[in-house]
Amino acid sequence: MSTDAIPAAHLRQTDVDKLGHGHGGSHRHTYATGHSGGGPASKRVVVGYGFWIFLLSDIIMFAAFFAAYAVLSRELAGGPGGRELFDLRSTAMQTGVLLASSFTCGMATLAVEQRNALWTQIALLVTGLLGAVFLVLEIREFASFVSRDAGPSRSAFLSSFFTLVGCHGVHVTAGLLWLGTMMAQFFAKGFRQNIGHRYLCFSLFWHTLDIIWVALFSLVYLVGSLP
């Protein structure tokens, strides 16, 4: 562990759970929150809040793709619809894997708080493996659609489906790359403060991807395969 790592007591006080926490530079807790009492907010709060704003704008982008899908989901152009295409067993597996990876990401957050290098790496590795299984299942599904002449150019329904679900898949891929760099940074540099900030952003990103998947499996797959 590097010498410039912050002491555990300090890390414990850092409010991982409370983004945008307005207590600022002073250690005195004020309840006049949202008013930045006690000077400028700490860097951790600023970084986390800024990334939270980014995630919300990402969610709004997904909402636009969702709107396009909702409008076009009945435009089959004589091609196959969701009932013929969707394999709900694969969807259930994807859901379970991503949910489990969100949970292990939470375990990694606790391990980072404790500055426990071994458990941080283990939890992040499991998170990454579960994310990779999710991606494999999704790629298999897409490949089976294309092999059944149901690629993105088949109908407006399939174009919007591939755009929406594929965009989530691209996010998961980016998240996996990010996760790899986080593991490398924890390994090479230890639990430095700025790396803790990066990890905070990563964990928010990963949990948000699971929230978007909840909307996807419910509204695209489950509702789409109803009679």
Binding site: R12, G20, G34, L88, G96, E113, H207, V214, S218, V223
Partner: protein, 126 residues
């Protein structure tokens, strides 16, 4: 990944142990609730016990509930006073999402009702 194994973190006092235990409990509770809601969604999609046309509404309600569970237990967004900024940003995002999705559906449904689709036009030209 049991709490006992995580508790073996070196250099930690009983205070930190308590933090880990309550943290693991929070994540486990969130996981259990999310799994229950997911299972309920899949059940609702297959069950004959729910009136057919209302199934999409049931699934949507379960999805919204599960997103709330994720926000509270995994992202730790709460309604506490120290979360005011986060929850306000979330509320604004939610507003925009609703406007984009419901507005698109509203406009395009009316468009579909009032304007003939290209398919109908081609049929009429025959």
């Amino acid at each position: 990944m049991s709490p006992e194994q995580l508790d073996l973190a070196p250099g930690d006092g009983p205070d930190a142990q308590h933090r880990v235990r309550s943290g693991v409990r929070t994540y486990l509770l969130g996981l259990a609730l999310a799994v229950a809601l997911t299972a309920a969604s899949f059940w609702a999609a297959h069950t004959p016990f729910i009136y057919g046309p209302s199934v999409p509404i049931a699934i949507t309600a379960l999805a919204v509930a599960q997103m709330g569970i994720h926000l509270v237990f995994f992202l730790h967004i709460t309604s506490a006073p120290d979360n005011t900024n986060n929850i306000l940003a979330l509320a604004f995002g939610f507003l925009i999402v609703c406007i984009v999705v419901l507005g698109s559906l509203w406009i395009m449904t009316h468009l579909a009702v009032n304007v003939h689709s290209m398919h109908d036009v081609l049929q009429m030209q025959r």
